[in-house]
Symmetry: C2
Subunit: 248 residues, 2 copies
């Protein structure tokens, strides 16, 4: 696994021995550069390798009743098609938003390493668990929140995830998303996303121009969005200080 941030994140949730870490780091991979709009994996493709996002952003999308619905955003360190190990057919497009670079790791090789080091499989399972928690939060976001808190929640989630991999400091980050991307993710029209963002600006909660987003009042934004970062970080609310789990 090529990405240092991924390693760190795995260590934050699962404890790994030196040998296990080395096995991860030593995995052979191929690097690919992508331009804005490039499609990494097409809906219907059979995956024979996993993708690790190194820089930039990917989004998972698919046309649902004439709408392009985005069901996930990925930030550096994420493995968007980790589930491909289990269910090899992709049922979405995986698309680069802005330029990005990815590394691909062969399923065959990865499976071999997982067999040799079962704790690594357990750690990657934990990644799937966190991705699932993020999906759940999107379900709640789309199902229950009005436009303003909905957009705010997505902003908070992205900020937290970017912060986790060192790509957001002081609430500032580089975001190549268009308002249309946000609309596709939030189940809103671009027009309404635009008005919602204007409202967030008017309240001086965010500053977003030329691909740079700054969260000005993090606390208030999180309050409006009812956002709690724990699910992103795989943390337990009641025991933030507990040591990482380890199989066995």
């Amino acid at each position: 696994m090529p990405h240092q941030k991924l390693i760190e994140r795995l260590l934050a949730v699962s404890r790994l021995s030196n040998g296990e870490q080395k096995a991860l780091v030593g995995l052979p991979y191929a690097v690919r550069n992508l331009a804005d709009g490039d499609i990494v994996v097409h809906q219907g493709d059979r995956a024979s390798c996993c993708t690790v996002l190194m820089t930039g952003f990917l989004s998972r999308q698919r046309v649902i009743s004439d709408r392009n619905q985005i069901s996930a955003f990925y930030v550096p360190g994420d493995i968007p098609d980790l589930h491909g190990l289990h269910v090899p057919t992709m049922d979405h497009d995986l698309c680069s938003t802005g330029p990005s670079t990815i590394a691909t790791v062969s399923h065959v090789v990865l499976r071999q390493v997982l067999e040799d080091f079962p704790a690594l499989g357990y750690a990657l399972w934990g990644e799937t668990v966190i991705q699932a928690a993020i999906y759940r939060n999107w379900v709640e976001n789309l199902g229950a929140r009005a436009a303003l808190p909905r957009v705010a929640h997505l902003l908070c989630e992205l900020a937290t995830r970017l912060q986790q991999v060192g790509l957001a400091t002081g609430g500032r980050m580089n975001l190549p998303f268009t308002q249309a991307d946000f609309a596709d993710a939030c189940g809103l029209s671009t027009v309404h996303v635009n008005r919602t963002i204007q409202e967030l600006r008017r309240r001086r909660l965010i500053d977003w121009q030329s691909q740079t987003l700054e969260l000005l009042e993090r606390a208030e934004l999180e309050s409006i969005a009812e956002f709690n970062p724990d699910y992103v970080l795989g943390r337990s609310k009641l025991a933030p200080d507990q040591s990482p789990l380890r199989l066995g």
Copy 2:
């Protein structure tokens, strides 16, 4: 793991040796009976065991901006809190809808077995992968579909999942859900869910009365909902006949 259907489902996705199967079946567990509305796990609880649903239905829910949002339904054979192995704090209520029975398996014991039989961990990881796919489909459902196809999609999903564990034959199944439950899951008001269901009845697509649901025109219903069962079954569209995966 007490539930035969769970075992079968695990076998459908991952190949397990006799020893592995025996280890699963031999896991010690405690049975609990639940009444309608009973809460199995409260939001904020720290889990020390996993829950296997044996009969009945559970729903995962949580109040989001004054709405009770349901983010998942569980059918017999499901393990609603499998993620608790990795992130022990539950951030939702797990609630019985209608009467149900569950079995609980201690995390400590389960972890030991997973250490002894890594392939079992891989198989359970596959369960998490499928759950995640279901969440993704909910995201799409809530984000992109109008009321009618949205409700239809949920009906198709439940039918497919129940069919898989032998609880729906010929499109007929027992469903203890109220229209309000459906409203909470679909992000709609009860009033509108009611009108939507009436429309489905008027079109002779479903028959739903006194807790019994029958899908009358499965094909047309799936077409309206743009429903494809593969994600529920962990199947690959392009190779439905391929043999199950196995680690290594």
